[in-house]
Every structure is written in structure tokens, then in C-alpha cells.
């Protein structure tokens, strides 16, 4: 089972890094790791969204250890992957639920369209499969059919969905949902929120309000605040994480859409800058398309192996 997971993730990543592999193939036909080869490697990393600064740092470290050596394709890829995996290893941490909490409250946030609602569906499926009892809260009371969308995920996964009438106050709804989930001793309360751009301060304050209201009931809530990032996002992801972290104390990241052609290299920059854990990655639109974030698999994916 676990192996199947890994190989599917690897499949997804491999497809997603086809372009980078092509770039790298042209690099690695050279025998000697010289300036030109390093420049090409650096460009390959930039083309996978690592950003100019991080790509330069990774290559500088790589240069120190290997410059001028005769080196094969496989060695270059392995070594570069290891270099990147070392950066990512500390942030590869699964989401740990606190079994003492009934429920463990999870607030799911992010900019528009990144995959928040879908990720909640995937988590519900996973935890329901483990015999836990997740409850979903339709906290996106703004977007058209957001409630209906989450309700379908509830049906698919057998998780109850708590929703209010259209345009209810999300904070009030979250408060009521927590009351009910506590009474029912649910294991996990997954709160969906409307997508919001980090530079809209009124919307960010709304999110803070949800947290404030939850804390009236359980001062330790929310126990996790997940920021969902889209792997196709470029350098702006850094600003997203910075602001969400500042405003709502994000505890971990989810990276979605890694089944596409985007490689999600921004995760390397995020690891260096914020060191927030990446709990899982999304590799499709279905309930079972959630995978653990594995530093080595991801890094090897980035360099095309």
C-alpha cells in the first residue's frame, strides 16, 4: 500500500518534471562539471520555480563539492537531489492529530482556487478510512456553490457536513460547529474557508475572527492551521506564506496539483525561508489523491529522476 502510494507520487512528479528532465539531459551529457554545466543546472532549477536566489545558493553549494570533477549523468542528478532533499527533509512532517482532542480542530485557508475544499475531502476520506470521525464545516459562505461542493465531499466520504444558510457569518458557523462536534465527541473538525488573497486585509481579519471565536470555546483551538498552496504558483507563494503565517499562525502547508506539469520548486524556497512543515501533497482531483510529502521523492522529482 505504502509502496503503491510512493510510486504513484513518483509517477505524478515524474510527469511534472518532464521538462526539467529534458533540460537536465542536455546538461548531463557533458563529462566535466564546469561553469557552463553549472549554469545550465541553475537554469533548470529556476525553470522549476526555485527562484533565482535559492537556485543560485543550491548551485553554489553544489559547486563547492563537485566543481571540475568528471561526473556522470546519474551522479549529478543523485547529488543535486540529495542537496535539495537535505533542505526539504526537516519540513517533511505528516499532520499529527492530537488524540486527546475531541475534536482536533483544523482550519484550512489559502488564496482562491488552490484546492482547499478538495483537500478537506481528501483528508476526510483518509481519516474516515482509519476509523476516525471527521466532521466538515462549510465555512466558505461566500463563493457560489461552495457549500454544495463540500456537501458532495461529505457524501463521498461519509463525513457529516455542518452548513449554515447562504451568507452566514463564517465565524458564527464555526463556533456552532465546534459546539456540536464537541457534544458528539467527533475526532476531527475540518473547517473550510473562502479563498482569500493575502493582501486583502479585511478578508484576513475575517479569518482571524474565526480563530478568536473558536478560542472562546476551546482556548487551544485551532490545533492546526493549514495553508493550501497551488504548485503552479510562482514566487508569490512566498508572500502568501509570509502574510498568512503572520496573520493566522499557519502550522503547516499542503501543496496541491503536483500531478500537473508544474514542479512546485517554490517549496524549496519556502523551506529555507519559513521552515513550516509540508504535511501532504495533492496529486489529483479524487478523494484518494493525497500523498505524504517525502523530501527525497520530491527532490528527485525536481531533478527528473
Amino acid at each position: 500500500m505504502a509502496l503503491g502510494f510512493l510510486s504513484r507520487l513518483k509517477d505524478g512528479l515524474q510527469r511534472s518534471t518532464q521538462k526539467l528532465s529534458d533540460n537536465l539531459s542536455s546538461v548531463v551529457t557533458r563529462r566535466r562539471l564546469d561553469d557552463a554545466a553549472l549554469d545550465a543546472l541553475e537554469e533548470a532549477l529556476i525553470a522549476s520555480d526555485l527562484g533565482t536566489k535559492v537556485a543560485a545558493r543550491v548551485i553554489a553549494a553544489f559547486r563547492r563539492s563537485r566543481f571540475g570533477r568528471d561526473i556522470t549523468d546519474a551522479e549529478i542528478r543523485d547529488a543535486l537531489a540529495a542537496e535539495i532533499a537535505a533542505i526539504l527533509a526537516p519540513i517533511a512532517q505528516p499532520l499529527r492529530l492530537d488524540p486527546a482532542r475531541h475534536p482536533h480542530v483544523i482550519l484550512v485557508a489559502g488564496v482562491n482556487g488552490t484546492g482547499k475544499t478538495t483537500t478537506i475531502g481528501k483528508f476526510a476520506q483518509m481519516w474516515a478510512g482509519q476509523g476516525l470521525r471527521p466532521v466538515l464545516v462549510a465555512g466558505d459562505t461566500f463563493r457560489a456553490a461552495a457549500v454544495e461542493q463540500l456537501q458532495i465531499w461529505g457524501n463521498r466520504t461519509g463525513a457529516p457536513v455542518i452548513a449554515g444558510p447562504a451568507n452566514t457569518d463564517a465565524a458564527g458557523l464555526a463556533f456552532d460547529a465546534l459546539t456540536r462536534a464537541r457534544a458528539d465527541a467527533a475526532d476531527i473538525l475540518l473547517i473550510d474557508t473562502a479563498g482569500r488573497l493575502h493582501n486583502k486585509s479585511a478578508l484576513m481579519q475575517e479569518l482571524q475572527k474565526i480563530i478568536r471565536v473558536l478560542r472562546k470555546q476551546d482556548p487551544s483551538a485551532p490545533h492546526s492551521v493549514l495553508l493550501v498552496l497551488d504548485a503552479t504558483t510562482g514566487q508569490n507563494a512566498i508572500e502568501q506564506v509570509r502574510v498568512f503565517k503572520e496573520m493566522v499562525d499557519v502550522t503547516g502547508l499542503i501543496v496541491t496539483k503536483l500531478d500537473g506539469s508544474a514542479r512546485g520548486g517554490i517549496v524549496v524556497a519556502l523551506a529555507e525561508e519559513f521552515a513550516l512543515p509540508v504535511h501532504a501533497v495533492g496529486v489529483g482531483e479524487q478523494a484518494e489523491d493525497l500523498r505524504p510529502f517525502d523530501a527525497m521523492v520530491f527532490a528527485r522529482g525536481l531533478v527528473g529522476i
Binding site: 511534472s16 520555480d49 456553490a145 454544495e148 458532495i152 486585509s201
Partner: protein, 457 residues
Amino acid sequence: MFDSLSDKLNSTFDRFRGRGTLDAEDVAEALREIRLALLDADVALPVVKDFIARVRERASGAEVMDSVTPGQQVIKIVNDSMVEALGGAGAVPLNLNAVAPVPILLVGLQGSGKTTTAGKLALRLAQKARKKVLLASLDTQRPAAQDQLAQLATRAGVPSLPIVAGQTPLEIARRALDVGRREVYDIVILDTAGRLSIDQALMDEVKSVRDATSPAETLLVVDAMTGQDAVNTARAFNEALGVSGIVLTRMDGDARGGAALSMRAITGAPIKFTGSGEKLDALEEFHPERVASRILGLGDVVGLVEKAAETLDQEEAEALAAKMARGKFDLEDYRKQLNQISKMGSLSSIVGMLPGMGQLKDQLGKANLDSSVLKRQVAIISSMTKTERAKPDILKASRKKRIAAGSGTSVQEVNKLLKNFDDISDMMKRMQKLGQKGLMRHGMSALMPGRFGGAKH
């Protein structure tokens, strides 16, 4: 996070001032900075390379004019090239030259904003162009997708195709055109499921829809925050479908939007609209000049003014402007302005929109200057008497001490506020001197004290 490109180029070129022409070495150094700035703005690498080559050609050997610094001159070349690469002046309208009902097909990656854009286009075509529009969702993949479009249609006040469960996208498309013909619609907007460009089955499916409907417009809807992957997406969708136009969504964010250039360069298709919000009226025609300076970090003055107009209290703003014009601007006005600024969002995001303010943004970022600082400044002014606010010159040590105590701050903070106020008054005076025309010509950077970089006089 990064200095604006204009700051960087100005400092790069400071050394070369006084020479007659830009030589190859100067240009090469500038081009390195431009390359980095473009990559930081998420322009895709192959597109950056082409762009740099074009700028090199234009900049090499260009004569340095007396009136501007070499840095400014290169910036102008870069900016002009960027505007050109984005499509040149003026917006490209939708092509509606086809037999009614004219089909418009929306395609793109998951979550890029297709369904919302479908609603926005419907509203626009119905209201501004007085067309009879039908909305139809071909999205049988995403949970509640058809429901979402139906709700948006209601909000836009246009009909949507009744939902029939179990139909394939192709069947829905055919039904939409049938209804469109029978009920004499002018336009039928077809929203499709999000799909990955590497998902062969789904790409084939949308191809069959295209073949069956021959849309007058096939619009690729793209998130302005997209990174390097823009190339893959643009190429794949264009090869499969022949993209006729691009819609860039989430321009209300603070991404630099380099994807715009990538998309345009790879598909050759014009960017027709930008989305700037979740509401249905948040759709604008594309303005290459604005997006060019945004990508280059030269600031988006127009965008800033619009944002201000959106959030500011109009009357208060006009009263302030009148006072500024008369050169009368006191601490009470400054307090009002601070209040207005805090309504507009984080200070650094606003400052980032101003040209030549990269360094200041950096300083602001480091000092963690946020709305809390604004609030403290407001508190300080609130602790002053009316006379003090009108005549800050009378503020000596003892008064400052009282104000600091009253506002729960320190005398240093009071001093800092007064210094800020001085800077701003200074700016007002420059503005007066420049007048409206000067402001247009030099941009906001003309107003900044020299140490902030920007235009030199």
C-alpha cells in the same frame, strides 16, 4: 523583498554617468539585473531570454540623452519593449464576428478562474454590449460546478442552460448551441472543467468540444500568480486548441504577473481581460502599459490611484487634495490620511505599487511597519491639541513628553512621526512645483526625496 528594478538600474548606472553612449559592458550589466527582475516576477525562463535579446539589440549603442540618466534610459527601453511584447497600446476586444449564437469557449487549469470569468463575461456582454447571453457549464468533473455557474448566472441576471444529469461535456455543448439557436441567443458562453495540459484524455475531450462548436473565441484563463509552468500550459493548450485570447485572473493580488508576458509570448494570442476580484463586475480590459510596469517593478501608479479611489472616503480625499494643492497640510490632515491608508491594506503592498520605492519598501519590511505602526502614529496625533496639530512647529520637548505619555509611546516615536510628516510636507511642496503635467511625466518617483532613489533631476 526585492528592490525595484529602477532602483537597481539607477545604482548600476551611477558609475557610468557622464559617458556619451551606452557601451556593451554597461548594457550587459543592466541586462543581468533585468533578467533577475523578470525571473523574480515569474516570467518564464525561455521568454526572459528572448526578451533580453531584444532589449540588448535596442540598447547597445543607444545615445545617452542629457536629460536622463543612463539607468532611466535603459528603463525606458525595457519598458517600451515590455509594452510592445504585451501587445502594444490599446485593448483587443472580443471577436464576436460569427453567426449567432456566437460560441465562446473558456479553458484552463483547475481553479484558474474559468467559471467566475464566465459569469463576469456574461454580465459584461449583457449589460455593456446589450447581448442576449446564455451560460452553459460543461464541467462534469468538479463537485457542484454546474450549480456554481447556475448561481453565478442568476447573479449576473442571465439565463443558464438547464442542468441535465449524466450528459457528457460534448452533449451539453451541442445542447447549449441548439438552445442558443432555437431561442435566438447572441452569445453562448461555454465553461469547461479545469484540466491539466498533460492529461491527454481531457485535452482530447475539450478538442472534440471545440471541433463541434467552432468557437469564435477560445479563451485561456490563467492565474496571474502562475510561475514558470506558464510556458507548459500556454504551449499545450495552444497546440491542442488554438487559443484566441487570454484572461489573466487574480490581478487584485500582489503577484508581479510575469505570467502575462509568458502567455502572450508563447501563444501569440492577445491578453483580452484581467480579473481583479471575485465579484462579477471585477473584469477589466487589458492595459499593457500598466502590467508592463507592474512586471518590471516600476510601480503601478494607475492601479494605486484606482485602489485608493476604491477604498478612500471620496469627500475626505477631495478635501485633503484641495488642502494639498494650497500647500496647507497639517497634522490633522496627516492623521486622516493615515486612517485612510490603513483602510487600503498593508502599507508595504501599497508602497510596492509606487515606482522608485523599492528601497523604502525594503525598509518598511525590515521595520515590520504594518498597520500597527499606523495606529500608533494616529494615537500620537490624537494626543495632540488642536493647535499643536495645526502648528507642529510649537512642539518642543515638554509637549512631546506629554504627547508620548498620552499616547503610550515614546518621545523618539513622536520625533519619528514629526519627521515623517516633514517628509510628506516636503513631498507636497514638490508636487505643487511639478504640477499636474510634471507628475504625469515623471511619475510618483518625482515626489520622493532623493534618498529613496527614483528619478534624478
